[in-house]
């Protein structure tokens, strides 16, 4: 550690999953200086689809056409659910801001409306979601109307079988055809990787050869569905070229993670926060976090940067996620919050963490474990008081939600980040860096 005085920020965001990225983005949008610590590896597992709220109540498996009506139902059924604690106008503003920023970073979404949309998955199920990337949106229309449609896959891309999707839905969608082609230049490779294909399709010649291979297969197809490999940063250009070349709408179907849409989302978010001046320490982790009550500042000691680093922030947003994100850890006896040892609301014993049926309607109790916060998104200590006046918690580390079953992962991340940043801005009084 050097002897130089530590850099000072308005906000330190710990975590770089969807919630951490949203918090950093919203902090910057509000003109707050921000440092973000942590890598965005979790986002690689994203599909690019932005769920808001699809199912409520989960135990009844009730799907909603409108996420806002679902939110109203959630507010009645589960007022303690983090999403139910965010005002609807804030949720709308948060999503609009998010997709606008992503669009500016090259990842464009279809306009958000009042409705959820249904999309195809790689295993032939249907998924209810909200924000849909432009490269996938023609699939929503195709699924609605079910015209003659062609699904194509590439031999060697193991997790995506057009035939599987067509067979799974074929009896309900008779015009759904499937074909398999060789990816140009990869005829001798046993295994193809989506990211490699996406990069290859950014090269004009490979793209043109692929389109030429698709053309004779079109026949009566009104739309063409492909695995999500239509370019990385240049998805807009690649997708447009496929539509122009084939003369019909083309849509991507997200593949198994880690997928190209995850890579795109991570790249777009990184670019969006960096462009807004957020200082990113994506290799670093927080070794220690201390709060100074007199100065009203938190000190973060980082490791994973050469020589270590100490920074000071006036507010801290904890967006460290759950078990895969390492925000929570569990031993045989109990669940702990990893960084500060904050109290975690949790089931009494491990025997009750999980249901005996993996897909049980009511979900696993441990998924609703997490941090309790006050109305201002501040995690509570054992006595039920905020741990520190400007320590906030957002995203999936929060208790009283099961995002995997409710289909609200992105919504939880984006909405709670927005709401917490409202509180941060209020507390910091709109001042610049200290």
């Amino acid at each position: 550690m050097t002897d130089e005085p530590p850099d000072r920020f308005d906000v330190a965001v710990i975590g770089a999953g969807m919630a951490g990225m949203a918090a950093a983005l919203f902090a910057a949008e509000r003109g707050l200086s921000c440092i973000q610590v942590g890598n965005g590896g979790g986002i690689l597992f994203a599909s690019g689809l932005l769920d808001l709220l699809g199912v409520q109540p989960t135990a009844e498996r009730r799907l909603w056409r409108s996420p806002y009506e679902a939110l109203a139902a959630l507010a009645l059924d589960e007022p303690g659910h983090p999403l139910a604690r965010v005002e609807v106008p804030s949720i709308r503003a948060a999503f609009e801001t998010m997709v606008t920023c992503l669009g500016a970073a090259g990842l464009r979404y279809a306009p958000l409306g009042d409705s959820n949309r249904s999309v195809l998955t790689a295993i032939g199920t249907i998924k209810t979601t909200y924000g849909v990337p432009l490269s996938m949106v023609a699939g929503v229309e195709a699924l609605n109307v079910r015209p003659p449609c062609l699904l194509v896959d590439f031999r060697g891309l193991r997790e995506f079988s057009a035939r599987q999707i067509a067979a799974t839905l074929g009896d309900r969608w008779p015009g759904l055809r499937h074909r398999r082609i060789e990816f140009p230049g990869c005829e001798a490779l046993p295994e193809l990787y989506a990211a490699h294909l996406a990069r290859a399709l950014e090269i004009g010649e490979t793209r043109a050869r692929t389109i030429e291979r698709l053309k004779p297969l079109l026949e009566d197809a009104h739309a063409v569905g492909l695995p999500a490999v239509l370019g990385l940063a240049r998805v807009g250009e690649v997708h447009a070229a496929f539509e122009a070349g084939l003369g019909v709408p083309v849509f991507e179907i997200p593949t198994m993670p880690t997928s190209v849409p995850g890579l795109r989302l991570l790249a777009a978010l990184e670019s969006a926060v960096s462009a807004r001046g957020v200082i990113r320490r994506h290799q670093a982790t927080v070794r220690a976090l201390a709060f100074d009550r007199d100065e009203g500042a938190a000190t973060l000691d980082l490791e994973g940067v050469p020589g270590g680093e100490r920074v000071v922030a006036r507010a801290v947003v904890l967006a460290t996620g759950r078990f895969t994100g390492r925000g929570l850890t569990a031993d045989r006896g109990q669940v702990r919050e990893s960084l500060l040892g904050l109290p975690v609301r949790q089931p009494v014993s491990r025997e009750s963490w999980h249901q005996s049926d993996f897909l049980a309607s009511s979900g696993h109790a441990i998924n609703r474990a997490g941090l309790e916060t006050d109305g201002a998104w501040r995690p509570l200590d054992a006595s039920g008081k905020p741990v520190w006046p400007r320590l906030f918690a957002v995203g999936s580390i929060l208790a009283h939600q099961d995002w995997m079953r409710s289909k609200c992962g992105s919504g939880l991340a984006i909405a709670t980040a927005w709401a917490a940043l409202d509180q941060v801005a209020r507390q910091l009084g709109g001042n610049g860096a200290g």
């Binding site: 799907l63 249907i126 193991r158 599987q164 799974t168 008779p174 993670p257 759950r322 999980h354 993996f358």
Partner: protein
């Protein structure tokens, strides 16, 4: 009323575990025609839910000398005739501070009285060879324990029996017996999918149903006294020792750790249970195993576990102690003649190590009753290697893959490196025998779903491949994935803490969060496509290749 279809055979074997399959092979080698009915799949019961330990016999020297000697001689035979199913790892018996000094002192002489070699090993030397052993070890003996793959043993026994004419009927449960005087005229069975009952007319019937032998005997009207002891085992993420490590004491909880290829297997517990339905490992049993086994191998306290499983030991005799450990682990052969039947035999109890001998004894009885004088040759006849049966062996897939992979043989499972060709071989062999294989069947016969990800990625990949082959149609793949995870989940649930909890969360994020498998029907309804417009799906067109 329809007249039920009848099948004729000389011997009907009920139960496809290690004993039933060994019996099918034994009889087939003696030229006897047999049919084996199994209500689930090969080794679905205790045969597939044990340590995979080929006992030297040393474990039983103090309490059950007969069982110890049987284990010794059978272990030696299997090492000769079924070498491909065995890893001759050797074993240690280890005592730690606080263990019974008297037992330790008597161990070597107990062993020698049973003809078992147990060599005292210097503790420092033992810890140099097996660094995972506790610093608190106070005595170590080396014995001839080995690891055996019970799936490969049963699959290859059955494969040879079938090559000699034996018939296997999987997913075929016994529903009743037709008796006439002192004979069973026919056994009624329900075929897969619950179709019309079939009658199997056999001159002799053998009940080799393991823990289910009591139910089968009851159906035949010849009750036997049995108790059930549930045993739970844990699978570690990485292998902790190269040898079998036994606790040097009277058999108790969590006192064996087996090498199982790339992993170690730790257990067991022993709990009396009254019913065979819904036997699954619990968190409390996992905790007991971790805590107790860590006294001998401290790293087990912090080890990542990927799975647990539980089996039910069939123990012959009346109920006694609560944990069932005092009941003999020897086997029992009932001829049922005193119960008024001359063509039924029940073989149960016993151990994996003695399965060949159990088959020999019952086959001898059956042959005597049939008037067949050909002797048993399984103690000297090598078990042939079958190409579709070796994929349960950890580490084989990567080897084969390195040797032979080409442009059209991608890996389906990356944890255990299972190539498409392995899945094809297994699938084709099942199909050739007239079966309709499931994803779970493939899991039982290969390493698919057995690695750290527990099928998160390889299950959908394998299903995609089966669609591509044209084997799966319509919505079958979804049902298979759901069944497969349902089955794997029972084993994961008790060990979900630490790293494996994060793995399970990822699995749920993918299969529920993204794929919405729990909503597979509701989402169809929601998308306005609740019913298929036609009864039959269109025939699948052939795959397109670029022109």
């Amino acid at each position: 009323m329809k007249f039920p279809i009848s099948i004729q055979t000389q011997v009907l074997i009920i139960g496809g575990g290690v004993t039933g399959t060994a019996l099918a092979r034994d009889l087939a080698l003696r030229g006897i025609d047999c049919v084996l009915v199994e209500k689930e799949d090969i080794n679905a019961g205790a045969s597939g839910r044990n340590h995979g330990l080929l006992h030297s016999g040393a474990r039983y020297v103090a309490g059950d000398r007969a069982a110890a000697m049987e284990c010794r001689s059978e272990g030696e035979i299997l090492k000769r005739v079924a070498a491909q199913t065995i890893q001759d790892t050797g074993g240690y018996f280890v005592a730690v501070q606080g263990d019974d000094e008297r037992y330790i002192a008597d161990f070597a002489s107990h062993c020698s009285r049973s003809g078992i070699t147990a060599r005292a090993v210097d503790i420092g030397a033992a810890r140099a060879l097996e660094p995972a052993l506790s610093e608190r070890a106070i005595a170590v003996f080396e014995v001839a324990d080995a690891s055996i793959d019970p799936f490969r043993l049963s699959l290859e026994s059955m494969a040879q029996a079938r090559s000699l004419g034996a018939r296997l009927m999987r997913r075929t449960g016994v529903v009743g017996f037709e008796r006439e005087g002192r004979l069973i005229r026919a056994v009624r069975v329900r075929p897969p999918g619950g179709g019309d009952e079939l009658r199997i007319e056999a001159a002799q019937v053998v009940n080799a149903a393991g823990a289910w032998a009591r139910e089968v005997a009851q159906l035949a009207g010849t009750p036997i006294a049995m108790t059930y002891s549930k045993g739970t085992l844990l699978v570690t993420h990485t292998r902790l020792a190269s040898r079998v490590v036994n606790r040097l004491r009277l058999p108790g909880n969590a006192d064996i750790m087996m090498p199982g290829g790339t992993v170690s297997i730790v257990g067991t517990t022993s709990t009396r249970v009254d019913a065979l339905d819904d036997v699954h490992p619990t968190a409390a049993e996992a905790d007991l195993i971790v805590e107790e086994a860590a006294r001998m191998l401290p790293a087990l306290a912090t080890m990542r576990y990927i799975r647990a499983y539980a089996g039910v030991r069939p123990l012959v005799g009346a109920p006694d102690a609560a944990d069932g450990r005092a009941v003999s682990r020897g086997f029992a052969l009932f001829d049922h003649e005193d119960q008024g039947l001359d063509n039924l035999a029940t073989i149960t109890g016993g151990k994996l190590t003695t399965c060949r001998l159990m088959a020999e004894r019952v086959a001898d009885l059956v042959c005597r009753r049939l008037g067949v004088s050909r002797p048993c040759i399984t103690a000297t006849t090598p078990l042939p290697v079958a190409p579709e049966c070796g994929w349960t062996e950890p580490g084989r897939s990567p080897r084969e893959w390195m040797r032979s992979h080409g442009p059209h043989d991608a890996l389906l499972c990356e944890c255990e490196m299972v190539p498409r060709s392995a899945v094809d071989t297994i699938y084709n062999a099942l199909r050739a025998a007239g079966d309709t294989p499931t994803l779970t069947d493939l899991g039982l016969r290969s390493r698919v779903g057995k690695g750290a990800c527990q099928g998160t990625f390889c299950a959908p990949r394998t299903v995609a491949h089966l669609y591509q082959r044209g084997d799966f149609q319509a919505r079958r793949g979804l049902a298979e994935i759901v069944d497969f995870f349902g089955e794997r989940w029972r084993g994961q649930r008790p060990v979900l803490w630490g790293e494996q909890l994060a793995q399970a969360e990822l699995m749920e994020a993918l299969h529920c969060g993204l794929f919405g498998e729990e909503l597979r029907d509701e989402e169809l309804q929601h998308a306005g496509m609740p019913d298929a417009p036609r009864a039959a799906p269109e025939p699948d067109p052939a795959d397109g290749k670029p022109s």
